[in-house]
């Protein structure tokens, strides 16, 4: 390790030797502190400190995202070959390789664009690079459709980091979840690439063109019927609210997207969101290490379940009649619940507030998704709304505490 240490020490020395290069200190420092916990000692207050730091906290979230990432890679390949009808003739590794070819560039572009902005701000403002983007950089590709153009990911990431975070003062100061800001930006700026029936399966729009017929004809003829749809489960469900539903009734839907498939995640959707199981594995790690708030996760789930049950009881169409638990396994609900709503910066900060915040997020998510079928991505919008309401919720909780203290003063 001595060798590595010397490299960094020399780099610092070279940088600090001239005024011009001094400002690039954050660049070297970021890598240095990644490899070594620095030799800083306590100067004020408590002389000893807990072993935890922000790097470890963020890294554990990234580790929790790995199951979703790996499954996302596999499922991207899986969906691609599903519409081609070639699943029978293709190996596991070919599927995985195809998925990796699509997903890894998304990850690289997201990290590249985001860290570039972070470094510029760090150099400009003369502070060290904070770790906030490490998690956002992984969340952004996982909440994108597989077929999104890379330049859009870059633009959305830069927008989210600059407008969503840096203008508020950087990590820890933002009001809205950075990854969801990126997603919402694309959702409204480039709706054709973020919603509809053609973006969820990689290569789908090309396959639909002239070559499509010849491509599938060589394969299993059953694949043609199956492969004709690149829509998400929620897209199919939303069509129940229109004049010409894709499927006849809820039973037909359940036959196409079984509860098990929805839970395991072998359905089209954003890269990392489809598998409830993988989200739950991530949740288990985050809860076990105490990084995500169990208050937010549990109340978010309850909120969604309550809303879905209410609409379930109302019934009247194929969408509303879908059992609540199946509803929650679809779309971004689980992913948003585990990784987005729990962002400690944008969630409510008080313990009581977290219950309200989580419930609101889950409740609104299902409400938006089901009652306004133009926005099947209700969870994204609901979490952003809950982010906006979080300070207000905290304010109410704290005011309650203040009133309690004032009452004590009066009775004393």
């Amino acid at each position: 390790m001595k060798f590595l240490r010397n490299i960094f020490d020399n780099a610092h020395k070279t940088l600090s030797s001239s005024e011009k290069t001094k400002k690039f200190f954050p660049l070297v420092d970021a890598f240095d502190t990644l490899m070594f916990t620095p030799n800083h000692v306590t100067k004020k207050g408590s002389h000893v400190r807990d072993a935890i730091d922000l790097k470890r906290t963020m890294m554990l979230v990234i580790i929790a995202l790995i199951p979703c990432l790996l499954f996302g890679i596999y499922n991207t390949g899986y969906q691609h070959f599903r519409v081609l009808g070639e699943l029978e003739v293709i190996t596991f590794w070919e599927i995985f390789f195809k998925g990796a070819l699509v997903v890894l560039p998304l990850v690289v572009v997201s990290y590249g664009a985001g860290l570039f902005v972070e470094f510029i701000f760090a150099i400009k403002n003369g502070h060290t690079v904070q770790e906030g983007f490490l998690v956002s950089g992984m969340l952004i590709p996982l909440c994108m459709p597989a077929d999104v153009p890379l330049w859009m990911v870059a633009v959305a990431t830069i927008f989210a980091v600059v407008i969503g975070k840096e203008v508020f003062g950087g990590t820890g100061m933002n009001i809205l979840n950075v990854a969801l800001t990126a997603r919402a930006f694309l959702f409204f700026a480039h709706p054709t690439k973020m919603s509809g029936n053609e973006v969820w399966v990689t290569g789908f729009s090309e396959l639909k063109g002239e070559n499509y017929a010849s491509l599938v004809s060589s394969a299993n003829p059953e694949g043609v019927v199956d492969g004709s749809s690149g829509a998400t489960a929620l897209g199919d469900l939303a069509s129940f609210m229109q004049d010409s539903p894709v499927l006849e009734n809820t039973q037909a839907f359940q036959a196409k997207y079984s509860l098990m498939d929805s839970f395991l995640g072998f359905i089209p959707g954003s890269v990392g969101e489809t598998s409830a199981l993988m989200c739950l594995i991530g949740a288990a790690l985050l809860l076990w290490t105490g990084i995500a708030s169990w208050r937010v996760i549990s109340s978010f789930f309850v909120g969604g379940f309550v809303m879905a049950t209410i609409l379930n009881l109302i019934g009247g169409n194929g969408y509303f009649e879908l059992p609540a638990i199946h509803q929650l396994m679809l779309g971004g609900f689980m992913f948003g619940m585990v990784f987005m709503a729990t962002d400690p910066v944008t969630a409510a900060h008080t313990n009581a507030g977290k219950f309200i915040y989580g419930f609101l997020g889950g409740f609104l998510g299902i409400l938006i998704r089901m009652v306004n079928p133009a926005y099947p991505e209700g969870i994204m919008l609901a979490i952003l709304i809950a982010n906006v309401f979080a300070p207000l919720i905290d304010h109410m909780v704290i005011q309650n505490n203040i009133n309690r203290r004032l009452k004590r003063l009066k009775t004393a």
Partner: protein
Amino acid sequence: MKITVKRGLDIKMKGVPNKIIAESNLSKSFAIKPSDFSNLTPKLLVKEGDSVKCGSPVFCDKYNDKVIFVSPASGVVDKIIRGEKRRILAVTINSDGKFTQKNTKAKDFSKLDREELKTDLLKSGLWPFLRMRPIDIIARPEDNPKSIFISSFDTNPLSPDYDFIMHNKSAEFNAGLELLNILTDGSVHLQIRKNSDEVFSNAKNVKTHLVKGPHPSGNVGVQMHEIDPINKGEVVWYINPQDVMILGRYSLTGAYDANKVISVGGENIDSPNYVKTISGSSIESILKGYKVIENSRFISGSPLTGKKVDKDGFLGFYHHQVSVLPEGNEYKFFLSEGWLSLGFNRFSASKSYPTWLMPKSKTYQFDTNLNGEERSFVVSGQYEKVFPFDIYPVQLLKSIVTNDIEKMENLGIYEVSPEDFALCEFVCTSKINVQEIVRNGLDLIYKECM
């Protein structure tokens, strides 16, 4: 009253002092440091070369010259050490080793009324042992506190065990309690633990309360919050049990006798135990019998709240322990011992290290490394787990940082002191210097509202 503190954290540090009292070498040099007292502007009453006795005034509070600070030893004023802007850092006294008392007459204090007693305590130099909440400064003589608090136990890491130190010291302790009872219309509250020594459990003229729970249950702030919370405009005093004994000895003999037993702990000394010493003694004299490992940090007070001192420094006025810990001024490779290590030997209150899976009796090595870098406030809910007040710590800190006095008052700043936030600072992922923020907030409140 029985009190159970649920939220908190016991820090399991190596180097807990054994219950043996070593006779220390008498210090040749003593210091009285204005910096031991928050918000104090000293006015010197001696010059270098003046001779002093035990109990002779050395300096007083510039804004209230009745509050004087006296020499714990007899001898000659050696140096007046000044810092930036000629601020007085310490007055050192070369002891003649005789400890001649300025005053040797015992008085019958039971006949004194409150005002007479206050005058007497102020003149004798014992007054600064009394501290007040809110603000956490020396008690103001003009106040009539609604109660006086004594915590008979310290839950800080490596802290002294008063049950052990004060065993068989009932006479002095009770004499001190008698004086305290004159000073308040309310009660003197003494918080004890299960199995406390009889010096505490049989103490006279006090209301005893049984307290259970992890650190900071031994902090008077937490105990006040449970027993008799401070509202705006109210004042509560508190005093350390060993300082009650100093009052008691004064009451019995008339002497200013600042003898105390302190704990000397920490991993970097060979056999941590207790040492008999005198307030203001040099650290060197206290550590004379120990082997000290190189690259150590010397702390007067607890590792959580104490002050860093040099080896030629002095014991703080309110401190009853000295801690010697390894300096953490080394780089730690991220996988082997740094931020991404498995960390079976690293202590953490967060569950991201396996501390919480280890047996509860396991003790840990601590050094003074920050274990990270200062960051924006990101993780929420962390302080609340170790902060047993019905107060929102983060929101209070934010109101202090933004100088919002009304909000500070509303959020309960009158009830807290920096030491109550020590654990918040310890567990903080973002390595924010919380105690300093609280101190600044209290200073602002003192300036603007008191």
